[in-house]
Amino acid sequence: MTATNRSLARVARTAACLALIIGAGVAEAGDRKVYPGEMGVKWSGPNPVYKTGAIGNPSSTSWMYVDLPVINDDTGSGIDYSYVAVVDRHYSSDVRCSINTAYWNNTADTFYGYWGPNRYSTGSSGNQQTLSTGSASHGSTRHEYFSCLIPPTYSGNVSYIISYTVDE
């Protein structure tokens, strides 16, 4: 094989590799969004504190119940995977989260709801932990949210939900 042929073959090989890489990238591109924990809405318990985009429970005695809303902007698809980033600073209690979906069927006057298995943080530290809350594809036109519990403070240390991520 001459030097010219080798060069041409290399060019062809490189072009093919580039095409494969670009094609794979396009095929894998989902709709992934990371939301700040601060978007969470407390529905029961003490008033939250907010810190650099995170939502925390400042109470030394009460648990805080929080819903984390998700924007479903790919109504033709379910949630492929989801997770919540938390900081658990309580010695013995954990942050708990699940992925939920809900739908009203007006024709039948029926409410449909799904919750995923609860996921818990472990231990107690200032480091971020990730709770993998899984997938949810129970109908493509419902709305979605996370349901979380944040434990009270321990020795003044506040536990937080930092952010949450959904890939549709």
Partner: protein, 252 residues
């Protein structure tokens, strides 16, 4: 927006054409090499690495030498018989023909796009009206509920789990946290429990959903169908580690 899309389409088509040309030229150059290859250098001095391949070297030796010079991502050159090479070249010629045909089609499309014409695209389906969309969504929700129900019915009873799970369900409804919920039946099988209940009229659907989720006897996924008239609910609670059956998007 359509101009932007058209620009992207042209760029993709140009890239595809370039790729086709590169592959086609590479293959064609390989095919039209002279019948008699130039002789290999016969002295070690000509080879800076100090390795020489004898003219009549067995295939394994050639592969070994090839491996010495190939980088990590390249496959060593294998010795082939003339018949195998000819067959391979015929296949490659067929591929080149296909590439050339596709290249001509792409060139024609690019010329049309450059001239301002738009590619004939299939007519998009008419968008659903709000009523049709609601009907479709209702049907999807109903289908999902039926799918979970059917999956539960197909399950066998796991004697190691089902009786204990049912006891836990009875205890769940005995708790005052679920005041206004009346257990009608509980049917646990291998990975799912079907729990049917009556509801106090004063408990709205979303609140019932929330209370059920907060008071499950184990950390399993749940799917609940709450009817308003008459007020009642059917909850499917998955065994720990199991999941609620999901209809795939394509099946919806």
């Amino acid at each position: 927006m359509s101009e932007q899309k058209q620009s992207v389409r042209v760029a993709v088509l140009i890239a595809a054409t370039g790729l086709a040309i590169a592959v086609g030229v590479g293959v064609a150059m390989h095919r039209h090499q002279p019948e008699s290859a130039p002789p290999l250098p016969d002295t070690a001095a000509a080879d800076p690495a100090g390795t020489t391949i004898p003219a009549e070297a067995p295939a394994t030796t050639i592969r070994e030498h090839s491996a010495l010079f190939s980088s990590g991502g390249e496959r060593p050159i294998e010795a082939r018989t003339p018949d195998a090479t000819e067959t391979r070249l015929e296949k490659l010629e067929g591929l080149v023909g296909e590439i050339a045909r596709e290249q001509r089609q792409l060139t024609a499309v690019i010329a049309r796009l450059a001239a301002g014409e738009t590619e004939a695209e299939p007519k998009p389906a008419a968008p659903l009206s709000p009523v049709e969309r609601a009907q479709l969504a209702d049907q999807q929700a109903l289908d999902q509920a039926n799918y979970v129900s059917e999956t539960h019915l197909e399950e066998a009873v796991d004697p190691d789990w089902a009786p204990e799970a049912q006891e836990s369900v009875y205890a769940m409804f005995a708790d005052e946290a679920l005041e206004g919920f009346t257990l009608t039946s509980a049917d646990c099988r291998a990975s799912l429990c079907r729990i049917e209940m009556g509801l106090d009229e004063a408990i709205p659907g979303p609140e019932a959903f929330r209370k059920l989720q907060q008071n499950t006897p184990w950390d399993g996924a749940g799917f609940v169908e709450i009817t308003m008239d008459p007020p009642g609910a059917v909850l499917y609670l998955a065994r720990e580690g199991a999941s609620i059956p999901e209809m795939s998007d394509s099946a919806e």
